[in-house]
């Protein structure tokens, strides 16, 4: 069923992974601010979950590039 994938270069796996991380980060950045801070007691920067999303994806990118 997935036999054709044996002909695909292994490096493609890493590129798909990196594209996934970048895609999730971009998607998170475009979440509306009001949605992110809904119910939050303050709107201080550390509570902005979009920033954390990007940060966590950068860490993943670094890991997958280094291994």
């Amino acid at each position: 069923m997935m036999n054709w994938t044996t002909d695909v270069y292994l490096a493609v796996a890493k590129w798909i992974s990196l594209a996934t991380f970048v895609g999730v980060a971009i998607w998170a950045v475009f979440r509306p601010k009001a949605f992110i801070f809904e119910d939050a007691p303050t709107t201080r920067r550390w509570r902005d979950l979009r920033i954390w999303s990007v940060l966590f994806m950068i860490v993943q990118i670094a890991i997958y590039l280094s291994l």
């Binding site: 997935m2 809904e38 939050a40 007691p41 954390w52």
Partner: protein, 519 residues
């Protein structure tokens, strides 16, 4: 393999820890007055407790042994479970699913699906997750019996009037039962915080000592690059029998992982107990921090064991972690690492027990048997259910011996239904046109595809998830498009574009919940 003798100060540390945790958890009994206090910790949990509790729930003692054994066999690829097989899904769960669950004011994920579609899906989901949780508890309890026998010398069984009695398993059940039955989610979450800290302290210590023995990180890499260069690769070829890269990406990262982090009651329940929507989202989001570090305490020890002793073969490869403890740790530290083992085990078992009881109390008992009763009545039923699941798990545990690999067996079972469950949940939230007929068809069709693949084709279990998800998604899309849509009134508050936060909608949802999902 020789037995690891824990004695003296190590023994004292382990015993003290095993007594302290239930005592600490039992303290939270005083805060439990209603069923909401019991199942959702009174909706008072801050984000940082949720984060740590999620990790405590997610990482069990079998993960230590299984992941270290997997790393010993296959290398770094084992870490995908904690990285691409978790972190993107954590973010999706935090920003895509949890806000809808939170706004719906539900107790369980099947309850959400019951409101979105119908009660059949709710019951099917409850039974499926309940069965999986019992299976999981059996695994955990069996592992606890083996651990107590291996490290503390507690006999696995003793014979009483010709009946084998599983001492280690019953001991674990007593420890967990004491505070889980009495304190509910609050006790579980608070003890999880302590347990995760102990897990990391003990686990990191073992990895540091292992790296020290090899001359540091560079020593590990140099050794493995000579003896096992393939173990340093993150991705393995597409024809690999266990971790083919397409399976890892499409099956694990794109389906199994989002299904686990977005639809698993044991994970989601902590966020439903949050004190605010932001805490619910942040609790899930920040669990990415410890999750990213998990390979340091699970995968890395497997690689260290391989570098130090490449001669473990067959089933002994799964004992790479215990071998490392026995080889590296001096008196005093072995007790702490074993306490970390116990912490990982207990923090997963208590969460699964609590969630299973929540599911069956809320989605079966309250929805079908006694629909209108006092909060205290459902609190009592919840406690009885918790005790019942613990007792069932004690009896199920010995059956687990029939499965050769604990870790793989659990994952394979989950793969059968998580793909279609994720498909109908995703469409349920983000496609207004998805309807009950489509979802029922998609769920059963997807599970049928998974079962067919399971019995007819020898492929990596990641592919069950992927193809059952694709099948479930397509069937739901097609059948929904060919049948009548749901009324807008039914979808209010549950679907993208129809979520409202005004009091009228919320009170309507609350009314729907009280009537067991029927308006």
């Amino acid at each position: 393999m020789e037995q690891i003798n824990i004695h003296g100060i190590d023994f004292f540390i382990v015993i003290a820890y095993m007594m302290a945790i239930p005592a600490f958890g039992f303290y939270f009994k005083r805060y439990v007055k209603t069923d909401q206090d019991y199942f959702l910790a009174g909706r008072m949990l801050p984000w940082w407790i949720i984060s740590l509790s999620i990790i405590g729930t997610n990482i069990g003692a079998t993960d230590y042994v299984g992941a270290a054994g997997g790393a010993y066999r296959f290398g770094f690829t084992q870490a995908h479970y904690e990285w691409i097989g978790a972190i993107p899904a954590v973010i999706l769960s935090a920003l895509l699913f949890i806000p809808y669950y939170w706004k719906a004011g539900i107790y369980t994920v099947p309850e959400f699906l019951g409101r979105r579609y119908n009660q059949l899906i709710r019951v099917v989901q409850t039974v499926l997750w309940g069965a999986f949780m019992v299976f999981l508890l059996g695994q955990f309890f069996w592992a606890s019996g083996l651990m107590l026998e291996e490290y503390l010398g507690v006999p696995l069984t003793i014979d009483i009037f010709g009946v084998p009695v599983y001492i280690g398993i019953i001991l674990t059940a007593l420890i967990i039962g004491l505070y889980t039955i009495s304190g509910g989610l609050a006790a579980v979450a608070m003890t999880d915080v302590i347990q995760v800290l102990v897990m990391f302290v003990g686990g990191i210590m073992l990895s540091v000592l292992g790296l020290w023995a090899l001359g540091g990180w560079s020593g590990l890499i140099e050794t493995l690059s000579v003896t096992h260069p393939d173990h340093l690769r993150l991705y393995l070829p597409a024809d690999h029998p266990v971790y083919p890269w397409p399976g890892v990406i499409f099956g694990l990262a794109f389906v199994a992982s989002p299904a686990w982090w977005c639809c698993n009651q044991a994970i989601i329940q902590r966020t439903l107990g949050a004190r605010s929507e932001w805490d619910a989202k942040a609790g899930m989001m920040f669990s990415a921090v410890p999750k990213t570090l998990i390979p340091v305490i699970t995968v890395l020890p497997g690689l260290i064991a391989l570098a130090l002793n490449p001669n473990l073969v067959g089933a002994d490869m799964d004992k790479a972690y215990p071998w490392l403890i026995k080889t590296l740790l001096p008196t005093g530290l072995a007790g702490l690492v074993f306490a970390a083992f116990i912490a990982a085990l207990i923090s997963s078992v208590d969460s699964v027990v609590n969630s299973a009881a929540t599911l069956w109390t809320r989605d079966l008992y309250q929805a079908w048997i006694v629909k209108k009763a006092s909060s205290r009545h459902y609190l009592l039923v919840g406690r009885i259910m918790t005790a019942l699941f613990i007792v069932i798990a004690i009896f199920i545990a010995p059956i687990m011996t029939r499965f050769p690999g604990l870790f793989v067996a659990g994952q394979a079972m989950l793969s059968l239904f998580q793909g279609p469950t994720f498909a109908i949940t995703l469409l349920g939230i983000y496609w207004r046109r998805a309807n009950t007929v489509g979802a029922v068809s998609g769920l059963f069709g997807g599970v049928a595809i998974a079962v067919f693949l399971f019995f007819k084709m020898e492929i990596s279990f990641f592919y069950y998830s992927w193809w059952s998800f694709v099948g479930g998604l397509i069937i739901t899309l097609v059948v929904s498009a060919l049948t009548r849509p749901e009324s807008t009134e039914k979808l209010e508050g549950l679907v993208y574009g129809l979520v409202m936060s005004d009091e009228e909608i919320q009170s309507r949802l609350a009314g729907r919940a009280e009537s067991g999902g029927e308006e």
